[in-house]
Symmetry: C2
Subunit: 134 residues, 2 copies
DNA sequence: AGGTCTGTAACTTTTGATGTTGCGAAACAT
DNA sequence: ATGTTTCGCAACATCAAAAGTTACAGACCT
């Protein structure tokens, strides 16, 4: 796969699961479909489970399924569950020194945070149901 | 330094140069101040020069200075010059296959792009002049 | 009991960014 | 003209985060 693709893997996978909500999907099956590794899948889906979006079951007929209906899962839920901070993390070292750049830093950070907030808001307007096949 | 800190290094540096617009600033001096390496500084500032924000001069009293007045340089100019795409680059591999996730992919990408557009718009409202000391 | 899953903990590999060294080219001072 | 300063650039070395891998314990079903 590639780097920083957790979000895409998550979307990809949830899209599929939402289309067949009634059966369990194993990590092996998903990994196969996504061209990656079962463990990687479990890592990513694990976060979604922690966020209450998915349910996993062990054992024979185990696997993964949605924790709620596709119409109740927004893209913002998915994005947030992965805490991908689009906002470039401020490199700490820069906080020190001159008041000037401290101001600059604060200003830019707040703009970035606001951009992220508006992004999440937008993602919240769309649910998985909108991508289900008819 | 740290990772993905080009934006911060650029802001930091331009902030300083904007406060002393009349003299040349050498990469060694900047690197020293930013706790990094002259070559790294030149790499980042080189992009800003390509974008027409800075001018560099070789030789004895050489170094870097702003190409225009602080009030004519917006944070968006800086951001754009570095083409930091905050939008996570879509991992290509996913474009294939099922129409469902292709739709999902397109939708999410467009939301991300819009978020970035609005971010740049916001950054465009602020100029370097606003961070100059009085 | 035996087979099928997830859950996790290591560890290795890969990738992108940063840091480093070295040297050529340009500008200037003497 | 010669030497010094400084950028420009290329070729590495180093580092950190992400992804991939292996291995095995725990849970569940038949």
């Amino acid at each position: 796969m590639k780097q920083n693709s957790r979000l895409w893997l998550a979307l990809h996978t949830l899209g599929h699961i939402a289309n067949e909500p009634d059966r369990m999907h194993t990590s092996a099956e998903i990994a196969d479909h996504a061209g990656t590794n079962p463990v990687v899948v479990r890592r990513v889906l694990g976060r979604l489970r922690e966020a209450g979006l998915l349910v996993s079951e062990k054992g024979h007929a185990g696997g993964w399924r949605l924790a709620s209906a596709p119409k109740d899962i927004t893209l913002a839920d998915i994005y947030s569950a992965l805490d991908e901070n689009i906002v470039a993390p401020p490199p700490a070292d820069y906080a020190r020194s001159c008041a000037v750049e401290s101001e600059l830093h604060k200003h830019v950070t707040s703009v970035l945070l606001e951009a992220e907030r508006s992004l999440v808001e937008r993602l919240g307007e769309t649910t998985l149901a909108q991508f289900q096949e008819v």
